[in-house]
């Protein structure tokens, strides 16, 4: 499995560079919106995970490499599991970049670098990565990458837009029973509890999705 994850990075070494540059530019790009720290510690790792995951999928598809992978002494379930684990490895690369850029940024006293990474940033990123992976992979293993490109774009939009749409809805209709319950929950629990709950929910999705993907891939014909 380790070899498969290494493979997914080895086929796209350039992405290591692109994502590093992305991490440098993000805090500057979001400075005027006042979201430098958020973009550095949350958006960048999420975007990096998205890029690595989709690029790996597109390289596999372009070269029809699944035929080779499935001809190697490998269990199909290992191929699936390593794809899921790889998203966490990509997120880790994203964190390393963010922490490094944040550290350099603070040392140079640029105005967009005001704080270090927090535990909440990490929980937030992991939750999003879990949800992204759980939606992306079953569709990818079932239909391949090219056919699901539109879906992936919609997925990205959804992940970016859904939270803001939800907040907008909550502000516009404060009398809705769900909004009221949700507000009550938000007001009575700590943000750490809330985030942990989100993380746990995300990881449950992740595991269920993993099992669905293994089932799909075991029955796939090449």
């Amino acid at each position: 499995m380790f070899n498969l994850i290494v493979k997914d990075i080895a086929i796209q070494k350039k992405t290591l560079l692109y994502t590093f540059l992305y991490t440098i530019f993000a805090p500057f790009a979001f400075f005027l919106m006042g979201q430098s720290d958020f973009s550095l510690y949350v958006l960048s790792p999420v975007a990096i995970t998205y890029m690595f995951t989709t690029f790996a999928a597109s390289f596999d598809e372009k070269n029809k490499s699944e035929l080779v992978l499935n001809s190697l002494p490998l269990k199909r379930s290992d191929i699936v599991i390593s794809k899921y684990i790889s998203t966490l490895v990509y997120a880790f690369i994203g964190f390393v970049y963010s922490i490094f850029i944040g550290f350099i940024g603070k040392a140079t006293r640029l105005p967009m670098f005001t704080r270090s990474i927090s535990l909440l940033d990490i929980i937030f990123v992991l939750t999003i990565v879990f949800i992204f992976a759980s939606l992306f992979f079953p569709v990818y293993f079932k239909f391949g990458f090219i056919k699901t490109k539109l879906f992936d774009t919609m997925l990205l939009m959804l992940i970016v837009l859904l939270p803001s749409l939800a907040i907008q809805y909550a502000n516009e209709s404060p009398n809705n029973i769900f909004v009221q319950k949700f507000n009550y929950f938000i007001n009575t629990t700590s943000s750490f509890t809330q985030n942990s709950l989100a993380l746990i929910t995300g990881s449950i999705f992740f595991l269920i999705s993993l099992m669905i993907s293994i089932h799909i891939y075991n029955n796939k014909e090449f």
């Binding site: 070269n63 499935n70 001809s71």
Partner: protein, 286 residues
């Protein structure tokens, strides 16, 4: 007899094609040529052996093990060469090798280096810059560098020019000097096999036509040529199929010895090539 590959009553159905009740064996240390026209089920059979698709029924045994239960162990000792390049084109040869190497317990770098040198592959070149023939040699180098006992090749010579094809066959010829390695080689270019195959398995429209030693086939099959007045209801029965023209006929027989007796002094009797056998048999079934 030690059979490295045993296929029994294998069946796989698609909407418009069925591989039906296929049975044949590959002996250890031999070369099996797997022939048939396009769409006859060669690739389907290979995909079934490699567990890339699921059979409907039947058995596939590789190295005496069931291929779906012992998939991982079996693939440690299989080298595969497919009709196209399926490796990562953006990588160079060494990078691709580094990806494949950790998956095989028996990977041998020295052997790989030897083949790269022998095949004149330049290690720094990206795979996408290689010609079709070079890509094929690269696949072969990968397939041969982990001490595989069975090399499975799906149309390795298709799309190659005659020079490359003959070079590839020479390479294979050298490999089979090692009595432990067997080659299962599908092709529709039958001349490839006249030189190196020990056995020929012929399928058409998903059904087995025969699986025999090459010598047996060459000894028994024959082409008879002559004028049309030699053909009557009795003599017609001797042939698999007959090609008639204004000037005469050409026909394939499964029993050249009998044909020699019947047509002695009347027609021309020649040994049939694998191509003749394939072409006439396919026509006979239609």
């Amino acid at each position: 007899m030690d059979n490295i590959l045993k296929i029994k009553n294998l069946k796989k159905s698609y909407k418009d094609f069925t591989l039906d009740n296929l049975t044949f064996n590959v002996e250890r240390g031999s070369v099996m040529g797997f022939i048939g026209p396009n769409g006859s089920g060669k690739s389907t059979t290979i995909k079934l052996i490699m567990n890339l698709i699921k059979k409907n029924s039947g058995n596939i045994n590789v190295f005496g093990l069931d291929n779906s239960k012992h998939d991982k162990e079996i693939k440690q000792k299989i080298g595969f060469v497919y009709d196209e390049n399926y490796f990562y084109e953006e990588l160079n040869i060494i990078e691709m090798k580094n990806i494949l190497r950790p998956f095989y317990k028996g990977w041998n770098d020295t052997l790989f280096e030897k083949y790269v040198k022998e095949f004149e592959l330049s290690k720094k070149n990206k795979i996408k810059t290689l010609s079709k023939g070079m890509k094929m040699k690269l696949s072969l180098a990968f397939a041969l560098s982990h001490n595989a006992e069975l090399i499975i090749m799906d149309e390795p010579t298709s799309g190659l020019d005659p020079v490359f094809r003959s070079e590839l066959l020479d390479i294979l010829y050298n490999i089979i000097q090692d009595e432990n390695v067997s080659i299962f080689f599908s092709t529709h270019i039958t001349t490839d096999l006249e030189k190196i195959a020990d056995y020929i398995t012929f399928i058409n429209k998903g059904k087995l036509v025969f699986s025999k030693t090459k010598d047996e086939i060459v000894e028994h099959y024959g082409i008879v040529k002559g004028s049309k007045d030699l053909l009557d209801n009795d003599t017609r029965r001797e042939f698999v199929s007959i090609k008639e023209t204004n000037f005469g006929f050409e026909a394939l027989t499964k029993d050249i010895i009998k044909a020699r007796k019947i047509f002695k002094g009347k027609g021309i009797i020649e040994k049939a090539s694998l191509e003749d056998i394939m072409v006439y048999t396919v026509r006979g079934i239609v």
